[in-house]
């Protein structure tokens, strides 16, 4: 088991390294003009352009630039703008000249928002979504099952941003049944943090529950028809134990795969939810940076997003090996 984890860790780290190289190549080797972008279109004089190039070491060989960028991640580095030296400390992902702040700091501000959002979302889909799906699987073919599955189909056929926007508009503003979305750091007030996130959690969570209910129903229907389920019933176990102990454990495996990728994706861009519910998360940051052509921020976010993806995949692998002993052999 330990070796299994170690092996997975090694492969995860190598994926991160490849991503780092690829990201760097995308932004610095590809025919883009970072200095021009930073300088802007209007009042960009040739001198300022050259100065930026020099300050950012864009005139140095690419390999050196990459080495400096990578070194920055581990030990930090200094940037010089208009004669002022800015220090960008340890995990330095670059410096946003547009905002005059290190990228790492900007990400660090936004990350808690998105992580809070996604954590609540995860809890909802894994409990309500999976539970509803299992119930439907157990009662497959009945009226309740069919009604439920039809309604999930209806819900998921409406685009998410319409649902979210309508709920925000009707249930938090026109008829304020639900608290309005907003961000308060939990260090300040846990109550306010919770209230501000409640509506986004419910909207994002319940909307996604429709898909999770369908995944888990499908997976559970298959599992419930397995021979080992018949064996469990033949032992004299109650229906509840058969469904929620014997069947759910193997029924969860495909759901976890989807969940891992889904969470990683949401972390990098729950853009709609953040915009609609006024949460200053990573998604909004990416959107703003794209608008401003703030290259260092975009690059930093891409890097962080890919690390999150790799980490989630790693966690899913570990979860697999806990659930399914056969995986440990691979």
């Amino acid at each position: 088991m330990l070796y299994f984890v170690a092996r997975r860790l090694v492969s995860a780290l190598s994926v991160v390294l490849v991503t780092l190289i690829a990201t760097f190549a995308l932004f610095f080797i590809a025919p883009t003009d970072p200095a021009g972008a930073i300088c802007g279109d209007r009042n960009c004089t040739q001198e300022r352009y050259n100065e930026i190039k020099q300050n950012l070491h864009l005139d140095k060989p690419k390999v050196q630039q990459f080495a400096e960028y990578t070194a920055g991640i581990f030990v930090g580095r200094d940037f010089e703008t208009s004669g002022v030296v800015q220090h960008c400390s340890a995990p330095c992902l670059g410096f946003s000249f547009k905002n005059d702040r290190p990228v790492t700091q900007m990400l660090a501000d936004r990350l808690p928002v998105t992580v809070s959002l996604v954590a609540g979302y995860a809890v909802i889909v894994l409990t309500i979504g999976v539970y509803v799906g299992s119930m439907a699987a157990k009662r497959r073919g009945t009226f309740g099952d069919r009604a439920l599955m039809t309604s999930t189909l209806v819900v998921s056929s409406v685009p998410y941003y319409i649902v979210a926007l309508m709920i925000a508009l009707y249930l938090t503003i026109l008829y304020p049944i639900l608290p309005r979305g907003g961000w308060t750091p939990p260090s300040e007030s846990v109550g306010k943090w919770f209230l501000g996130l409640l509506t986004p959690w419910l909207v994002l969570g319940i909307y996604s529950c429709t898909s999770y209910a369908r995944y888990s129903r499908g997976s559970m229907v298959e599992t419930l028809s397995e021979d080992f389920i018949r064996t469990a019933r033949a032992k004299g176990l109650s229906d509840r134990v058969v469904t929620y102990k014997h069947a759910l454990r193997s029924g969860l495996i495909p759901v976890i795969t989807i969940f891992g990728l889904d969470v990683a994706g949401s972390l990098a861009g729950a853009i709609f939810t953040e915009r609609i519910f006024d949460l200053p998360g990573l998604g909004v940051l990416v959107l703003d940076s794209l608008n401003n052509y703030d290259l260092p921020v975009i690059m930093g976010t891409v890097l962080v997003a890919s690390v999150i993806l790799v980490v989630m995949n790693f966690l899913v692998d570990i979860a697999y090996s806990i659930i399914d002993p056969r995986v440990r052999l691979a």
């Binding site: 397995e226 021979d227 002993p325």
Partner: protein, 390 residues
């Protein structure tokens, strides 16, 4: 009730004679007593051997409603098994042999199955028993050993866990006590090194070992009745022999009743005391193993025997049963076997296609019964079928 047998009898007198080498004298086809036909609701002691049975199934019918209509998977099935005896239920796929045993375990989905008739287990009626009481019977008084141990064991729990779980369902004991019991059972079924094996997962077991573990799990609560559904079909020949020996020995030790479901007549010959042959949901022949295998009285049983290439038989052309088993949705009229039966022309008139033959004693009174209109079954078998079997 008019018995069709008597009508046919007028035209063709009894011509049963003779003995077969090595088989002992064959009972003459005695005059049938028409009143025997009222035997439908006979009392409990209806076993070929005449012992008091533990499991009594009477007039069991299992139906599944489908989009195309009601399918009768089992139709009017009656049998009984005393403790210490093995009944083999033989039939091809779709004959209803597994469906009927699932009903004994109460394993059918109530919402999707219509069950009528009676299944008495040590005096308790299973049909209509509420689920929470049924749960107490399943795995305790009656246990099941399934065909494919690869898919019948939970892949994600250790073998030991699964066996002790089976014990703890019916015994309020600590995990340690259950573990001790599980280790005992692993040892009993001949799994070497039980302590190590207890912690392993099914995929770490070989096919034969897995089936042993399955048997250990089935027997952990000392069941009075074991239903073994094709227990060796997924196994290799040498391993099959081991498992059959094991089942035989365990039965001698614990004295439980065994219902063995199989399609393999060779396995039947090695294991069974009594044999019930099923075709299209009905019992077509029932008797002691010796009666059914050595003196079969139903063309379907003959066909099965003639279809098997055995290791010791001379290699002549096999004589398969022609055609295919009927669809349960549209059974042929009269005897379900009539479209495949080579002997229908020996029955006067169209009775094979119009009247469903009753399950009647082959010699007028005995416990060996068969469902066939032919009135000179014994002589046809001895004169035509037996020589072909060699």
């Amino acid at each position: 009730m008019t018995t069709p047998e008597n009508e046919g009898r007028k035209d063709t007198p009894d011509t049963m004679v003779g003995t077969v080498p090595g088989d002992g004298p064959v009972l003459p086809d005695a005059k049938r007593n028409p009143s025997i036909a009222t035997r439908e609701r006979r009392d409990t002691a209806y076993t070929p051997s005449g012992e008091t049975p533990y499991l009594v199934v009477q007039d069991l019918t299992v139906q599944f409603p489908t989009a195309d209509g009601l399918v009768s998977a089992v139709n009017g099935l009656s049998y009984a098994v005393p403790l210490g005896r093995t009944l083999a239920i033989v039939g091809e796929s779709g004959s209803g042999k597994s469906v009927s045993s699932m009903a004994v375990m109460g394993l059918h989905d109530r919402k999707r199955t219509k069950i009528s008739g009676s299944i008495q287990l040590g005096g308790d009626e299973i049909v209509g028993m509420p689920e929470n009481e049924l749960m107490k019977v399943r795995g305790d008084a009656v246990a099941m050993v399934f065909q494919d141990p690869q898919s019948s064991l939970h892949p994600l729990y250790t073998v030991g866990n699964q066996i002790s779980e089976a014990y703890r369902v019916h015994h309020k004991v600590s995990k340690d006590v259950a573990k001790k019991r599980a280790l005992e059972m692993l040892d009993l079924v001949g799994i070497p090194n039980p302590i190590r094996r207890f912690k392993q997962y099914p995929h770490e077991f070989s096919g034969g070992m897995r089936q042993r573990a399955m048997i250990a799990m089935g027997l952990v609560n000392d069941p009075k009745l074991v239903i073994a559904d094709e227990p060796t079909t997924a196994l290799d020949v040498t391993v099959q022999a081991q498992i059959l020996d094991l089942l035989n020995n365990l039965q001698k030790e614990f004295g439980s009743a065994i219902v063995l479901i199989t399609h393999d007549l060779g396995v039947v010959a090695e294991m069974a005391d009594d044999v019930l042959v099923m075709y299209a949901g009905r019992c077509v022949e029932y008797g002691t193993a010796e009666d059914v295998l050595a003196r079969p009285r139903m063309p379907y049983t003959w066909g099965l025997l003639e279809s098997i290439p055995t290791v010791s038989a001379a290699s002549e052309k096999l004589r398969p049963i022609k055609g295919l088993p009927p669809s349960l949705l549209s059974l042929p009229g009269g005897c379900s076997f009539n479209p495949r039966c080579p002997y229908t022309d020996r029955v006067k008139g169209e009775r094979c296609t119009t009247d469903l033959p009753e399950l009647l004693p082959v010699d007028g009174a005995g416990a060996h019964t068969s469902r066939c209109h032919l009135h000179d079954k014994a002589s046809i078998y001895e004169a035509e079928v037996a020589p072909r079997l060699g």
